[in-house]
Symmetry: C2
Subunit: 307 residues, 2 copies
Amino acid sequence: MTFELTILGSSSAIPTSKRNLTAHVLNVHERFFLIDCGEGTQLQLRRNKIRFGKINHIFISHLHGDHIFGLFGLISTFNMLKRDTDLHIYSHQELERILTEHIQFFERNLAYKIVFHHIKPEKNELIYEDEKITVETIPLKHRVPTCGFLFKEKPHLKNIKKNVVEKYQIPISEIQKIKEGNNYLFHDKIIPNTELTIPAYKQRSYAYCTDTAYSEKIIPIISNVDILFHETTFANNFKKLAKETFHSTAEQAASIAKQANVTKLIIGHFSARYKNVEIILQQSKAVFENTFVAEDGEKYKVDLQRE
Amino acid sequence: MTFELTILGSSSAIPTSKRNLTAHVLNVHERFFLIDCGEGTQLQLRRNKIRFGKINHIFISHLHGDHIFGLFGLISTFNMLKRDTDLHIYSHQELERILTEHIQFFERNLAYKIVFHHIKPEKNELIYEDEKITVETIPLKHRVPTCGFLFKEKPHLKNIKKNVVEKYQIPISEIQKIKEGNNYLFHDKIIPNTELTIPAYKQRSYAYCTDTAYSEKIIPIISNVDILFHETTFANNFKKLAKETFHSTAEQAASIAKQANVTKLIIGHFSARYKNVEIILQQSKAVFENTFVAEDGEKYKVDLQRE
């Protein structure tokens, strides 16, 4: 029951020799969700040994080149590898037109189907759901319509204590109800659920927020997440430039993390001007201690914990 | 007076964890000519410390995605870096439409001018010339119209021997003529040019041939080049598949190199099926001993030599 984030690219619009363009992969129970797809994403997937066939869902935050130019090559490579399962892309409507025109010119016959799901980045809404997780949009504040994504496990069921099935002769038909929290009637005696179960695992969650200016509106949506990725394009001294370009400083990202009471903050989408991002890390830590710097190829796992 | 090739990507259509998509850079006297531009080229330029500002000319062999998908990001990055010098792109006419539409959507204002030079890949013709070199197209045999490129230094002048200027009292006005091979009249005596000069440096040359099936038609165009890059997508046992897909085997590339009497053959554009290309190298060497395997980041210099 894995819940693990892999950073594929941590640069902002201009890549550096060490930082690729933006893309993250979230592994939820061996389903791999690709979030943004900057140029070189397919190469980073290869280097990080993430199998192409495991990716069926791609989420795109906004239509700036540094977040999508990797789609062309990825779609092409999927085709050459004779992919035949549907590929779902969650993005602004305009991307469908762009990709469709591209595919018409560059791919004679696409062997698989691309299913476009148009999202409205200005709203917080549920855009994906399966038996394990939900994905919601997080409206962000950028120069073009942009949203982040909140990935959240569905509630886990409680676990039945050892021996109680035998002790109270619980039939299989009742097990599910007890896991859901119900008590159990045994020879006219109510056995409380707490005596039968151990607490469920906590729902794990990941919020991806880039590109964005400082926006307190996202706080209620992302509150208490296990991992928040929030962009820090700039160090604090560039607060004015951050505002003008609708990006965030270290202090702003950390302030959002603190107010939202998240467990862990990962910062990234660094301007190419920073060869060393230590200053940005220190400025973030000054406000929110549990800050980590996104590095290409780094993985962040959220372990299962009881409630 | 550098003449140096850098391999940026050596994979064929599907990149691997070690081989990027196709792009080469030729440094001729500190002018950097980019040849093809697969996805990730801007990242490879960074890693190989080739300054973006040095690239003013890009040559595109054909309109398959693995040779051009890096253009979108490169054009965008040039813009963000506030490039203001013209960028010349030599390619099939259709690329102008594709890039123009792209730029209209993704780049609000392009701060520099892109000058498109339409080439006819089916003809061997001069497409670029400056005071140092010429570039000609090499018609290739692929599924879509494709050409290679022949980069050739212009003839060097001879060098004047030490002391002869003083000995024969040669005025500055005569120096250029002597360098061009003329004799010199000194007190009614003809001094032969060989007594006045040492031989000129040889013209250095590089031929880039990918993607292509075996084609003997290219031999007269590329004969005697210092470096031939010829694709070897497949080992010899895939001769049939090579023919069907209009690619070349090791033996075919080596045979072209041998017939064209080139000095050095570099093979590349390897199918992603080869984790190890030793077999392809051995098969090429069996026909043409002076074969080298293209590796990403590798440089091949041609030193100056007297005729």
